[in-house]
């Protein structure tokens, strides 16, 4: 009994971590800039390839490889922003098509350069057993990293100058510019941060998956659905969607298999488009606004 409960909890937190790490970068780019980055999966792939080259070809420790992969992917994102994305700041639909095209080009470029597959990296840290079942310490570390990343992102956007100016640019670009905030620079920084987070995700999951040019596709659907279900608020949305989708995915993975877990996530996406098109965060912000208006009305009646 305890073994089953632990297995469910482990599966849930594992799904939660995967969804949060895969979606956080995309959610920040979408929430702050209104850009749906369909090349997010390929940025994850670039992070993984750079990490793999650092570890397997240059013999660096995994952690150093991941850091280099993260920074490198951040700069790839900056380059993408300066060359392509900055022309699409006010064109959300065009940005979907452009980034989708970019994702195909990047995957093919990786295929041409590195071929169909790469040497993998083995999972570090070993495993432990609960009720006869084996679990990975590394996956628990990924959960801890996901939680720490959420906290850091919250602190960055709430308390730093970059975060405040980025939120200001998101809410009204015109005012931000007039106050001396360079909105283009803020957008470039935000896209770079979102891309770096994608690179980090790619590097972190490298030991758990085989590395091929379609590596990014394994992340794109889940991250896209997490952002869709979460809504425009990059933090509240990602945490709630990661939690909600994590429950669905972990139960279906455990009861049936991972194929059904993915089907469950897609069904959730369809359900949310139909019932809550603004996602979890849109719904909760709406509830908050209604409560506030009710409170003000009551105050007025008195």
């Amino acid at each position: 009994m305890f073994g089953d409960i632990f297995a469910y909890i482990y599966q849930f937190i594992d799904s939660f971590a995967f969804l949060v790490l895969a979606a956080l970068g995309m959610a920040i780019i979408y929430g702050m800039m209104g850009i749906t980055n369909m090349a997010q999966g390929e940025l994850i792939m670039i992070g993984a390839y750079v990490t793999d080259i650092m570890v397997c070809n240059l013999g660096m420790p995994l952690i150093i490889g991941i850091i280099i992969g993260t920074v490198f992917t951040g700069f790839v994102g900056l380059l993408m922003d300066r060359l392509i994305i900055k022309r699409l700041y006010d064109r959300p639909l065009d940005s979907v098509v452009a980034t989708w095209g970019l994702s195909i080009a990047l995957a093919q470029l990786i295929y041409i350069i590195f071929g169909p597959s790469m040497t993998g990296v083995s999972i570090p840290l070993g495993s432990f057993k609960v009720a006869g079942r084996s679990y990975s310490y590394y996956r628990l570390l990924l959960v801890a990293i996901a939680i720490v990343l959420i906290l850091i992102t919250f602190l960055v956007f709430k308390y730093t100058k970059f975060g405040l100016h980025s939120r200001a640019t998101m809410q009204n670009r015109e005012i931000a510019n007039s106050l001396g905030v360079n909105a283009n620079k803020m957008n470039a920084g935000t896209f770079m941060l979102g891309s770096a987070l994608a690179g980090l995700c790619g590097g972190l999951y490298l030991p758990t998956m085989s590395l091929t040019p379609s590596y990014g596709e394994s992340f794109l659907v889940q991250s896209f659905v997490t952002v869709l279900v979460g809504g425009a608020d990059p933090l509240l949305g990602t945490v709630l969607a990661g939690g909600g989708l994590g429950i669905v995915q972990s139960i279906l993975n455990m009861k049936f298999n991972t194929f059904y877990g993915k089907i469950g996530i897609l069904l959730m996406a369809i359900l949310f488009i139909r019932i809550l098109p603004n996602g979890f965060s849109g719904y909760f912000n709406g509830v908050r606004l209604k409560m506030k208006l009710k409170k003000e009305k009551n105050r007025g009646d008195k």
């Binding site: 100058k161 405040l164 100016h165 939120r167 200001a168 809410q171 009204n172 015109e174 005012i175 931000a176 510019n177 007039s178 106050l179 001396g180 905030v181 360079n182 909105a183």
Partner: protein, 244 residues
Amino acid sequence: MANMETPKEKILILDKVSKQFGGIQAVEDFSMSMDKGELRCLIGPNGAGKTTVFKMVMGVYPASSGRIVFQGEDITSISASKRARKGMSIKMQVPGVYEELTLRENMRIAAENYVPKKQLAEEIDRLIELVHIQDLGNPQVKNMSHGQQQWLEIAMALASNPSLLLLDEPAAGLGPEETEFTAELVTSLNKQGLSILFIEHDMNFVRKIADQVTVMYYGKKFAEGSIDEIVNDERVIQIYLGNS
């Protein structure tokens, strides 16, 4: 006597500035200049192009043609954020504040680029006190009244210690007492040496504070002069004051 003969330094020169939106000519060959320390009002009927001129001066809209000179420097082709850093500040027509953020967060956005970190809190306190919203605490801006939001935006505009302040309808939507305070605030800022260009429909407000008035009509300059000259100009009364 010698001082009187010295030409006053121009803080702003608009030289045949035009703006087109597609096929619509919003502003056409508009020229105007302002002396340093001047308090000038831009008036005109709705749709005359006043706000478009403001946004071109600030760099929010690029001018289709013409030249904008600020403190002797041609700024026609530079971005709004750079103009802000050169000493220009604007209060928009619709309060240009961040409603989802708190009062102090708004002030931080406005002040962080200009005030050293150690003096930031103190400077924010000073500006909040200057516009009389110090007793509100730190509410989310959407919970503040329209007047308080207008004053907050003026405080935000002052955070960069500008040389030229652009105020787009500072008295719009305010009650008599709030309008009175805004007039005192604008006059006092001008007396401290700040050059101010403002747009206003409330002619009592304009009469009370403006030195010079420029009248716009259908995107062009229609008349210019002191407030007494303007209010007694038959043509202006016909197009604008007569309708109000």
